[in-house]
Subunit: 113 residues, 2 copies
Amino acid sequence: MEGTVEVRFVAINRIHCRDDYRARFEELFQSRAHAIDRMPGFCGMQVLRPQKPDEPYLVMSFWESEDAFRQWVGSPEFLEGHKRGFDDLRAARERGEEPPMTSAFVTYEVIAR
Amino acid sequence: MEGTVEVRFVAINRIHCRDDYRARFEELFQSRAHAIDRMPGFCGMQVLRPQKPDEPYLVMSFWESEDAFRQWVGSPEFLEGHKRGFDDLRAARERGEEPPMTSAFVTYEVIAR
């Protein structure tokens, strides 16, 4: 995103939220840890709220390369950045509840801009 | 994308391509008309090729506001920018063939970055 480096790879995390978890979900990202910002090859991110409520939220991260993205997924920064969300998932599991959100990564190469 | 203005709205066009149309589809965007670049409030675009071939291509456009996006959809630049693609669709229809691609817009507000 931010100007000088070239985005070549995009990872999109599609997140379905329970209705009663939406406000918490949005707050988690609006007060995010910024751990990902320290990763080499990270170019920026955007969290997108769908205008149609049946669509998932999209968490998009922009990278110089696929390798930079893979490094992040295996890094301490990944765990640090997701700590509060992972805690919420574990707490729901311990209470025997459905998870408040489900997520799935889809990955892309940038072929034109 | 490009630095100074704030992206507040994102439109994603999900495009399913027939296998035999993929090369043409990619070429259309790699030699795109750049008509959209003239629109007020346009912040950039990315064309994303999925790593899993059953996922659609994503054409993402980034805007200062929803209004800027809506202005574009109703503009001469929208028709100019899509001319070759629309011609391909019409030619397929005239030959009685299935369309080589299908597309659907999904729209989002940026709630964090």
